[in-house]
Every structure is written in structure tokens, then in C-alpha cells.
């Protein structure tokens, strides 16, 4: 499936990442299509965070290719994706100023940036806190603000690296609902998690990563019903923590 002006599908071939002598990712290849959320799961240290950073362009591959569907559109590929980190990085400014910051960077005028930032805040239920200092928010509110900030950019692809790892169950649910809303609106979600329940709730598709290798890519239903590899089966039974 290929929309006329889309950066998807994302084609990844032979992706390797080495840090010194250590091979963190080995020969990873897959295609990400437009559609429901793709969840990257796998034990601790499998290379999930490194993979997302590579895809988002924050790290350079040691070998292999990351090929976006439309490298030369009107808007550069980098401007059409956004990323959320495990710990939200919030500027020492108001909630609204945080949400508006990347829009201003992208060249929007002050008024337009503020208007779109407010839409983002409304999406995550933070419009009432717009003038508050961002870093005084609770952990869950901070991650919701990071989501609002990313959503305001209207990215085609949104990467999320364990966005709920530091959150309590209620805040986790709130974040999941927002992610589901964005997915329903057509944003391609690519998200890592080590929380299997979360993966079941959100995933349309699963990529199972283990020790730097992609062992499975499958529709969520099929994966959870019967994973193809012994490692994935062990992981689903909760026996594979590393």
C-alpha cells in the first residue's frame, strides 16, 4: 500500500549497529506499512531502543539501509516523524511553550504555533494546565505533554520508546488511549514496550527482537496465538527476561 504523498512504507534491509566491538543489532530487515500500530517487543537489552533511534535518524547504522517511501517530498522525511522517549524531555518553560517549541522550530508563526499547540494539549486533556511550568507536572502529565507536543507536529510516523515505563497504571492507560486515538486518526505508531499486556492492547503487528536480531514480524493476533520461535514462546510465558 502506497499513498501518493507518504513516507511509508519504510523499508529496512540488513541493518547493523555496532558500538565498538559490540554488535547491538545484527542484520535486521523488515517493512513497515501504513496502518495499525507496530509494537517492537523483546526482553531487556534486545536492542529495541537502539532500533527506534536508528529508524528516527538519531543514530547512524553501521551497515544496512533505512529507506523511506518518499525521501524527496515537499517536507523532508525528518519533519514527518516524531519520537517520544522513555523519560520525557521537557523544556524549562510553560506547558504551552513546550508544545509550541518544535512548531516554531519548523517555521510556524507564533500565533499559528500556539493554536496548534493548544489543539495538541486538548487532545491529551492538558488544555487547563497550559500556563503551568511543564516540569512541575506529574510524571503522567509530563508524558502526555510530550505526546501533545509530538502530535501537534502532525507526524506521519510517531516513534515511542517505552513511553509508559515510569508510569503508574492509571497514567499508562491515559497514554495508551491517546496513542490509540492517534493511530485511529492515521498516524503510524511504532512503539517499543516490555509490557506484554500493553502490546496486546495496542498492537496491530508485532516485531519480536531478541539479542539484536529480529526473530519475528507477525500480525498481533497470530503472534499472541502462536509465536513461531521458541524464544518468543518463552518470552510470552514470561521466562525470557534477558
Amino acid at each position: 500500500m502506497r499513498l501518493p504523498d507518504s513516507i511509508l512504507p519504510l523499508l529496512v534491509e540488513g541493518l547493523c549497529y555496532r558500538a565498538g566491538a559490540v554488535e547491538i543489532l545484527r542484520d535486521v530487515g523488515f517493512t513497515l506499512e501504513a496502518g495499525g500500530p507496530s509494537l517492537v517487543i523483546g526482553p531487556n537489552g534486545a536492542g529495541k531502543s537502539v532500533l527506534l533511534r536508528l529508524l528516527h535518524g538519531l543514530l547512524a547504522p553501521s551497515a544496512g539501509r533505512i529507506h523511506w517511501g518518499a525521501p524527496e517530498g515537499n517536507v523532508p522525511v525528518a519533519r514527518r516523524q516524531a519520537m517520544l522517549f522513555q523519560r520525557p524531555v521537557l523544556l524549562r518553560r510553560s506547558v504551552l511553550a513546550n508544545a509550541a517549541y518544535p512548531l516554531r522550530l519548523a517555521g510556524l508563526g507564533r500565533a499559528e504555533a500556539a493554536a496548534r499547540a493548544r489543539e495538541g494539549l486538548a487532545l491529551v486533556g492538558l488544555e487547563g494546565l497550559a500556563e503551568r511550568p511543564a516540569r512541575r507536572l506529574s510524571g503522567g502529565e509530563q508524558q502526555r505533554l510530550a505526546l501533545a507536543r509530538a502530535a501537534a507536529l502532525q507526524p506521519e510516523v510517531l516513534f515511542l520508546d517505552e513511553p509508559c515505563a515510569n508510569l503508574d497504571p492509571a497514567a499508562t492507560r491515559a497514554v495508551e488511549e491517546i496513542v490509540a486515538t492517534l493511530a485511529a486518526r492515521g498516524t503510524k505508531i511504532v512503539m517499543t514496550t516490555h509490557d506484554l499486556g500493553q502490546a496486546r492492547r495496542l498492537a496491530a503487528e508485532v516485531l519480536f527482537l531478541h539479542q539484536g536480531r529480529l526473530l519475528e514480524q507477525a500480525p498481533a493476533e497470530a503472534f499472541f496465538a502462536g509465536p513461531a520461535t521458541a524464544e518468543a514462546r518463552a518470552f510470552l510465558r514470561g521466562e525470557l527476561l534477558w
Binding site: V89, L91, A106, R132
Partner: protein, 234 residues
Amino acid sequence: MQDLATAFATALGLVATADPAVTGILLLSLRVSLTAVALAALVGLPLGALLAVARFPGRRAVLVTLNALMGLPPVVAGLLIYLLLSRAGPLGPLGLLFTPTAMVIAQAVLIAPILAALSRQVLEGLWEEYAEQLRSFGAGPWRAVPTLLWDGRFALLTVLLAGFGRAAAEVGAVMIVGGNIEGFTRVMTTAIALETSKGDLPLALALGLMLMAIVLAVNALAQGLRDAAAGSAG
């Protein structure tokens, strides 16, 4: 002890009578040092921010040099500016030697490296925290400089105060390029040096107490501003 008590009494007397000569000296001290801080900040803070974000060959050498310049003796800074501004010097025709402007320049030269080195330290931590997120937004190191300067504003205020303290307390630079001319370039520190050499220790000490009070007041004011702003911006 006797001297100290006399000094306090003298200081109180000077304040109470608002001695015009002393008031003039005090105001000039404030004006020269605050202007010098502002001038040095214009160069020092962006330079510090740039050094915090930029990675280039020779960066370590620049940082070592900058840290060494923090210990630049005021007389040396004064001498350099003296040579530049003296009649035979390249900037001699401007006729700035022995004017308050020359004193501002000398103090600015003295504290710009301090502001740059300290702000580099303060902002490097902030950059570590922000770098990945800013890159994700498409902001490279250059674009990060104004962001870091703004987001580090409270820490940078402390850096500015350190610069102000250094400027207000130094005597060597203003003495050399200002000349300690009564009613024109005499500031608190040069007045103290003069009274000490004349043997009027109580007066010298009284002026010293007033200088400390001024520095304390500026710090308290800045701290108050910072607290008020921090309450609304976090």
C-alpha cells in the same frame, strides 16, 4: 577591634549623611561593574553555550585556555587595555584612557572568560539532557544555543552574579586604566586602596563595608527576581 568599631561608625555616618563624594564613588562603581557585566555577557554567554554544544578538534585546548583565563590577574587585564588605549596604542586616538569607559572595557575583558567558562559548565549538563530531543525536533547545535541560554536562565543569573562580584571587587584593572581620578574615575576599590595608603584605615574599612553591602544588595535583588520568575516558569 578598635578600628573595626570606628569603621562601622564611619560607614554609618557616611550613609546617614549621604556624603555626596562617597555616593558618587559608589554609583560609579555600580555603573562601571554592571555595564562591564552586561558587555561581557553579550560575548561570554553565547560563547559558553556554543562551547557546551559544539564538538570540534582543539575544543579541549580552548576549554583549558578559558579556564586558565578565569585566573587572569586584574592588573594584567588592565595593562593589556592600557596598551591598547594609550596614546601610542592602536586605539589611542579614541582618547578613552583614564575614563570610565576604559574601566568598563578592562573589567569586561577580565570577566568575559569567567562568564564563558562558567556558562559552558552550566549549559553542558542541560545540553546532555536536551540534545537527543532537540535533534529529534530537527534542531542542530547552532539552533540549540538560544534555547539553552533561555532554559538555563536561572543558573546563568548565578554566573552573572559571580562575574559582577569579581568586577566590583577588583582594583588592579580600574586603577591602571582609570587612574583613580577624584570625581571622575575613582571607584570604591581604588578609593579603599588610596585611603589605606594614606593611613586612614577606618575610612578605608568603612568604604569596604559599603562595597560589601552593595554587592550583597545586588545579589539579594537578583535572587529575589530569580525566585519570583522561577515560581512562574519552573
